[in-house]
Subunit: 239 residues, 2 copies
């Protein structure tokens, strides 16, 4: 890394011990004069489709607009369309927590729920992701964009997702360990559920879906019990 | 209709001649002392799944909170969960324009585009629906809720949708009339595209996806040309 070259962070996550996002980790290890060069790219973008040249749109966020524009220009092609943003935190938080909602989507499948429930889950999932992001300083509008809503829809509606498989396993009464042994690999959402839950607890942000997934993964609650608790919360205003 | 009984409007649409929404039409024909009883119910709710008792969540909006709560109480069951809102316009506008975005989703399928493009379309679709709703006095947050985002996701991700079939037909180069003859019935989005386009024009709201669908349906533009124009608009900030 040297001055003049943007550092584009594409991996999203919350570090378990420090509860830092990836851009915070990068800033933590880079000297301050290099911080303006940090950019985050996020959005609904299955790599396979990007490679095939299928149309894809993503968000590129950097605190300095000219850095975001530099990254935008470097990546913009006939089929790959980056939109710029100044909201680094808003751009990356959706990519961390979407995997937790995808596990919940798998649980919903596994319990035999349908498309209405999935659409509600995505909607309420975005509400709690936005709540967390805003508490971390993000602009709520960013979460309604490609890196928030767009990525969440892609992950939750896709059957390919490992997270979804984890959710279906949980619904069938398997433990997280059993499911991961069967999968032969780690589903991101399993770790994300832990760090998102911990961050929400520390910042006192209400995240009922994340909370439910965490209880199923780490607190041995039965799926039907957990989901019924979620559905039967007191009826109330939408926000 | 008599005082004391809420009028729950579940049909959504924009009347072509007057460009009024259904709640505006109802208020137009009811005497003012009955206006407080007008409520709108909207959200991701395939009737078939509701009838089967599969979990469903919707928004109930009325200008008077006690009316919204009365409707909420009347409909709330173990599996049907209404959330209240005071934003009548915000609650109903999503239900009108989602069908237009669903046609665009069908066009995207028909051109061989993938899940990345669909997720981007839903996201950008919600941005322009929100823009129109806000211009009509809605709270933008309502559009990120069940009646906006939730219903849009359900409609666009579902293969059952007639609107989607219309879009696929347009992508194959058929005319709107040919497609509707084959379908044997009217797809809501075909009318909605006309009224939403007209309303957007009158209120000077930018709605590029609606505009594109309208051009394909009513202005004989070729699908690839229309979509390329949409994708190749100047790169820019996300909002």
């Amino acid at each position: 890394v040297h001055a003049g070259t943007p550092v584009v962070c594409v991996a999203k996550g919350i570090e378990l011990e420090t509860l830092m996002t990836m851009s915070e980790v990068i800033e933590d290890v880079l000297p301050v004069p290099l911080h303006p060069y940090v950019a985050v790219m996020s959005g609904p973008s299955f790599a396979k489709e990007v490679a095939k040249g299928l149309p894809t749109a993503v968000t590129v966020a950097a605190r300095w607009e000219r850095i975001a524009r530099q990254v935008q220009d470097a990546f913009h092609t006939k089929t790959f369309r980056p939109y710029t943003s100044a909201d680094v935190m808003g751009c990356e938080i959706g990519g961390c927590v979407k995997n937790v909602v995808a596990i919940a989507a798998g649980i919903s499948d596994g319990l035999g729920f349908g498309a209405n429930a999935l659409a509600a889950l995505i909607t309420r999932g975005l509400v709690e992701i936005t709540r967390l992001a805003v508490r971390k300083g993000a602009n709520p509008l960013t979460l309604s964009g490609l890196s928030g809503l767009g990525d969440l829809v892609l992950t939750c509606e896709s059957d390919l997702s490992r997270n979804r498989t984890v959710g279906r396993g949980l619904a069938a009464g398997k433990t997280a360990d059993e499911i991961q042994r069967e999968l032969g690999q780690v589903a991101e959402g399993v770790r994300n559920a832990r760090s998102a839950h911990e961050l929400a607890r520390r910042l006192e942000v209400e995240m009922p879906i994340t909370e439910t997934v965490h209880r199923l993964l780490y607190e041995n609650v039965s799926p039907r019990e957990a989901v019924t608790t979620l559905m039967m919360r007191e009826t109330k205003p939408e926000r």
